[in-house]
Amino acid sequence: MCDSCGCGDHELVPVELHEKILAGNDRTAAHNRAHFRAAGVVAINLMGSPGAGKTAVLEATARAMGNRTLAALAGDLATDNDAERLAAAGIAAQSITTGSACHLDAQMVHAAMHATKWRGLDYLFIENVGNLVCPAIYDLGQAANVVALSVTEGEDKPLKYPVMFRAADLVLLTKIDLLPHLPGISLNRIAANLEKVMPKPLFLPVSSLTGEGMAAWSTWLEHRRAAVPNAALVER
């Protein structure tokens, strides 16, 4: 009750918060990250548009990194197809069926971790829902964000989706085996556009089909292990 003038009105109280709307997600992500670090698991959040080749990259990664134990959490709106493909490629995979949600959040990843044998892994790939917008703002607890951008998607994608590419630690330019059929597409122009939106532009051209670039991608992944303090302890 307003007691300054006795008017009988309720009192209006301003509450200053200045807090991130995603603070709850960020707390869960920090919790996931602490688990990954303690267990020496490198978690990679793999994003990209539908059809960018995310699942194919993981299949090729399994072929290129036979010495490492990999698993994946595959976010998918409605199906288990990606998880089934990954399992066939030898990557233990757990689906996260998001229903109508266009992105994964830290809580979905946390719930999936309970259903996955992720301790003792070298790498856990979190294949996000195919989308260049929504997944960019959700921290999942990953060690790094990787964005798959296929050469067929057009050179200006980085400029159209700056939030996604700004969040990327690495961009994989996929399907480069198709370049001979795409006379209008230049890797240099894609690179120039990435430089306009990524403060530390880093990209690797790869082909999941021919295996080109997979060695460089494996090396990049190996370097990420240095950033995970306990990874060396579980070195095989």
Partner: protein, 113 residues
């Protein structure tokens, strides 16, 4: 369409704060959204109008303060204009976004009996 998920988080946070303070209604929410935060502000407003029904925010006004994009050198702090690359012209260090990626709940004005 993550704007709907954001509004859901926002309303849950406001409801928790209102409960803790025994508020009977919320009059106004002030949020700060960066121009390059990945949030579509019109969609955010529409989502709020849809989701506020039957919550403590039912009659609340949503005030959105938009923040322009600003980059600065992560080493020397020099402002950097986006252009050919996001690097400092004087020391060549990478730029850091210092404004424009905010998704922040600043203030709740609530009615306390």
């Amino acid at each position: 369409m993550h704007e709907y998920a954001l509004i859901q988080s926002l309303v849950e946070r406001v409801e928790a704060e209102a409960r803790a303070r025994h508020a009977s209604a919320v009059h106004r929410l002030s949020v700060r959204i960066g121009e390059q935060s990945g949030v579509d502000i019109e969609l955010f407003r529409t989502a709020f109008m849809t989701f506020r029904d039957r919550t403590i925010c039912e009659r609340a006004e949503l005030v959105v303060d938009t923040v322009p994009v600003q980059w600065a050198c992560e080493r020397c702090g020099e402002p950097i204009q986006p252009g050919r690359s996001l690097q400092c012209a004087s020391c060549h260090s990478p730029a850091r976004m210092v404004g424009g990626d905010e998704i922040i709940l600043d203030r709740i004005e609530m009615e306390v009996a």
